[in-house]
């Protein structure tokens, strides 16, 4: 008979490790499955200034590792494995991974999200050769060069600001005529001399020889097409939730996020969704961590109701 865990957590970002911390600290036999290493999207950002308790900021990778250690301190175990399929139809859930099959009374899905792609021809081939999704990782290769940032939210604005300190010139291409980014990002951006905002525009083509040499943009109001010569394009147009492995086992909304309210309960009994993968208004490290705590709470309640620990 295979071992049945009280909880399997899928994903080792802030939501997953907080769920694991609360569950393990509460005495649940907990294992966390992570395809790569701790941190999730957080590990791809530089300094995190808006997670409380770190008055000087903290880099995302370090925060991830510390969250992992915090959960391990109470016995939560991390296994490096990628989940390929799940079956939530029975009280004991099955989680199929690259490291064998796991069984659990409760599951917390905290697999997070990946950057959204532009969906243009050549994008895949040019990734890493001019097309990038992580300014903090790859920005330094564009010192004194010309880059374009695509997007208008907080991440795009933060990327454009970061790049403006390295690159000669930054185009910021946004499909609307105002940025969605908060003021703390907007104002320094408007004041940066080497940032040119390209309003009401979408990217229609990636121009390249062996690497990217430019992008073609179209003004959505006038229909006018322009070519912007640039050495790199940093894409920051939102996220896509990583729900592919779920195969219809829980209900998703139209954008692919798992439908769950503030209780983090999904459409499957004993299965909870925490962090960026859940329908929610604000996707931040602190709200992901909060989801993890809530998920662990309701998971414990579910196990108790099922007849105990």
């Amino acid at each position: 008979m295979e071992h049945i865990h009280d909880m399997v957590v899928i994903g080792g970002g802030p939501a997953g490790y907080t769920a694991a911390l609360y569950a393990a600290r509460g005495g649940l036999d907990t294992v966390l499955l992570e395809r790569l290493s701790a941190g999730g999207q957080m590990a791809l950002t530089g300094d995190i200034d808006n997670y409380p308790g770190f008055d000087e900021g903290i880099d995302g990778f370090t925060l991830g590792v510390r969250m992992q250690h915090g959960a391990e301190r109470f016995g939560a175990r991390t296994v490096n494995a990628e989940v390929t399929a799940v079956d939530f139809s029975q009280p004991v859930k099955r989680i199929v991974t690259t490291d064998g099959v796991y069984h659990a009374r409760t599951v917390v899905i905290a697999a997070g999200a990946d950057p959204r792609k532009l969906g243009l021809d050549g994008e895949q081939e040019l990734t890493g050769s001019g097309v990038h999704y992580c300014a903090h990782c790859d920005g330094r290769f564009y010192k004194d060069k010309t880059v374009a940032v695509i997007g208008g939210g907080n991440s795009a604005a933060a990327d454009a600001l970061y790049l403006s300190r390295l690159a000669k010139k930054v185009y910021m291409v946004h499909r609307r005529d105002a940025l969605r980014a908060e003021r703390i990002y907007r104002e320094p951006l408007y004041n940066a001399e080497n940032v040119e905002l390209v309003w009401d525009s979408i990217v229609t083509e990636l121009i390249a020889d062996t690497r990217l040499t430019g992008i073609r943009v179209k003004n959505v109001k006038t229909g006018e097409a322009t070519q912007l010569n640039c050495d790199g394009a940093f894409v920051s147009i939102g996220r896509v939730p990583l729900t592919g492995f779920l195969g219809g086992s829980v209900a998703l909304d139209g954008s692919g996020y798992i439908i769950a309210d503030e209780s983090t309960r999904t459409s499957a009994d004993g299965v909870f969704a925490a962090g960026d993968i859940r329908t929610k208004a604000l996707r931040q490290v602190v709200t992901a961590a909060a989801d993890g705590a809530v998920a662990a709470h309701y998971a414990e309640e579910y196990i108790s109701a099922m007849g105990g620990l």
Binding site: G39, T127, D138, F141, R211
Partner: protein, 102 residues
């Protein structure tokens, strides 16, 4: 065998290796590089049939440029001195091993 540090100085040895070579181009300040680094170490420890090396792109700019690295981590697999596959971004262990086994 653990991963070796590669640079311009010892790169001819790497290039002429009889074993398939995995190169991890990284920098100390890059989050995804830190994510993939322990995975690369594990592959090195568990697979003596491969030569696994790491190149710090800040210290070895010339070598990084030769390989056209503009995104890190970049993983490159070489056989008989030729690049046979490359990928950018942190990848799970199974995917990196698959690149080596191709």
């Amino acid at each position: 065998m653990s991963a070796i540090k590669a640079g311009m100085k010892n790169f001819e040895e790497v290039r002429s290796s009889a074993k398939p070579v995995l190169i991890d181009f990284y920098a100390d300040w890059c989050g995804p590089c830190k994510m993939v680094s322990p995975v690369v170490d594990e592959i090195a420890d568990e697979n003596p049939q491969y030569l696994v090396c790491k190149v710090n792109v800040d210290e070895e700019q010339q070598l990084a440029e030769q390989f056209g690295v503009s995104s890190i981590p970049t993983l490159v697999v070489m056989r008989n001195g030729e690049v046979v596959s490359r990928s950018t971004g942190a990848k799970p262990k199974a995917q990196i091993l698959a690149m080596l086994e191709e």
